[in-house]
Structures are given as structure tokens and as C-alpha cells.
Amino acid sequence: MNPKTSLLHRTVIHPYFVMFLRLALGGIMIFAGAAKLIDMPGMAESIENYRLVPHAWVNIAAIILPAVELIAGVCLIAGIWMNGALLIVTGLFAAFIVAVESAIWRGLNIECGCFGLPDSEIVGVQVLVRDVLFLFATIPIWISHFGLGVNREALEESAVESGADV
């Protein structure tokens, strides 16, 4: 391996690790989106509970948001429209963090509605920490995909060595 290939390239943005993150985050988005699409009334209730979206708009969000999760997840895994998918997935996790943090701050005792599961856990610090971890998990994908602040040549070399796509 060329000495130019830094520790960063061999670890957090190693193509295999980035591929693992894409599969994991994409899989989570697909699972959550599909479960919410199956139970749109439940999704609407969950959104309503957060009291962040005006009452009249709750159903619109419940109809569109799960489909956004599903399609962004598919794009992330398949590598199609990666720029848009990555932006949307990151934006969704950021939005979830704001919603959960806001619910905790307001003392709302509500189910988080995470992953579209019935009887999901109550909004709390553990949900917040999980969403923050998911958000952090997008960083290596951003760096790998856009070459943010790293030596692009070394990144491509690392990919060639591992036989993976950057």
C-alpha cells in the first residue's frame, strides 16, 4: 500500500466499511419506510404526537415521509442518485434528532414511532443517542462519495487495492 494512503483511508473511509454503512443505513431506511407505509394511520398518530407539524398537514407528512425513507434507502444501497439520497438520508436523521430533542425538552411522554413499529419505545435519551450515531454514520459515506477534505488519489488507490467501488 502506498504511504500516501493514510490511516483514514484504511479505516473509516475504507471502501468495504463505507459499503457496510451504506447497506446498514439503507437497510434501516427501507425497513422503516416500508413499515410506515403499511401503517399510515399509525404513522400519522406518531407525527401528531410530536406536535411539530400543523394538525392539518399531519396526513400529508404521513403519506410522503415513509416513501421518501424507502426510496432514499434503495438509492443509497444501489448507488443510484447518490448525491440526492445521501443529502435526504442525512437530512432525515438530522430532523429526527431535532424532533426527539424537542420532545425530550418539552417533557412529552410519547412513543418515538421509530422504524414504524407498534408499541415502539418512549422518546428519551437512548433514542436521541441512536439517531446521533446514525447521523455520524453518514460522515464516512459523505467523505468517500464527495472526497471531502481527503486525498482523492489515495482514496481511489485504496479502492483499487480492495477491489471495491468508491
Binding site: M40, N49, H55, I60, I63, L70, W81, N83, L87, N109
Partner: protein, 155 residues
């Protein structure tokens, strides 16, 4: 940058079409505009000053519909904690003593929160005749720096 925007718009457009299609094909599609909760506006809404005045005069009891944990941290003076989530058991313990004709003012965290509405529904079924809601709830009460009491939960 332009490519990113184009792809984002494309994913959002596709998602809208997919969401609409799945909603339309479901057995009971959601209306695009959510109709108002039929329970909202059913009980007279009081202001913070009105709540305080009635409590000071002793002409009403405040009912805190939040969970005991939040009640313990702070509540409207002399309020009784009847959490919406454990209403049945808590009412059996302390609610039975409440006179059916006495005015009750129910509140929860803030806004027309569902806990207040749930408790009001239960109380109505149980025969309470004079029910009010304080929609401003705990958030508004604190914002207005109204008197606060902190104690152990009643349960």
C-alpha cells in the same frame, strides 16, 4: 451542486407519487388534509389566569394528566395527578373521592395535548358534570411564571 438538487427533487417527486399510490390503494386511505380531532373544542378552554383564580377561590380542582414523573417535578398548585396512561388504576385509588358535580380543570404538557382529552373523555364517562380544559398546559403555565408546586406524586 445542481446535480444534487436535481436528484433530491427527483427522489422527493418519486416518493410523493409512491406515497399517494400506496395510500390510494390501501383499504382506508388517509385524507390529505387531516380533519380536526372531534374532541377538540368539546370542553370550555380556560386561560392561565382563570385557572389560577378558580383554584384560589377553591371553586375548581386542577387535574394533571401527565405522567407522575413530570407531576412530581412541578405542577399547578393543589393539582391532583390522574395520568392518562394509568388512568384506571390511579382513579380507583384517588379519583373516587372527587365529587361528581365539582368543576375539574384538566391540563397536560401544552397545546391541545391528547392526554388531557383522554382524561376528559374518561371523566365524562364516569359522570363528572363540570369539565374544563386548560389547553395552554404546563408549558404556558411555566412561561407565564405562574405559581408552581412540586411534590411527591399522589399515586
Amino acid at each position: 451542486m445542481i446535480r444534487t438538487i436535481q436528484q433530491t427533487v427527483a427522489i422527493l417527486a418519486l416518493s410523493t407519487v409512491l406515497g399517494m399510490a400506496i395510500n390510494a390503494l390501501s383499504g382506508d386511505p388517509l385524507p390529505w388534509i387531516r380533519p380536526p380531532d372531534a374532541r377538540e373544542g368539546k370542553w370550555p378552554d380556560l386561560t392561565a389566569d382563570e385557572v389560577m383564580q378558580r383554584i384560589e377561590e377553591g371553586t375548581a380542582i386542577a387535574i394533571d394528566a401527565r405522567d407522575a414523573k413530570y407531576f412530581k417535578e412541578g405542577h399547578i398548585p393543589s393539582a391532583v395527578n390522574l395520568p392518562a396512561t394509568t388512568f384506571g388504576e390511579t382513579f380507583a385509588e384517588i379519583g373516587e373521592a372527587l365529587p361528581r358535580e365539582y368543576p375539574l380543570i384538566v391540563y397536560c404538557q401544552g397545546g391541545p395535548c391528547s392526554e388531557s382529552l383522554d382524561v376528559l373523555e374518561h371523566l365524562e364517562v364516569l359522570g363528572f358534570e363540570s369539565l374544563f380544559i386548560y389547553e395552554g398546559g404546563w408549558l404556558e403555565w411555566e412561561e407565564k411564571t405562574m405559581p408552581v408546586e412540586a411534590s411527591e406524586p399522589h399515586s
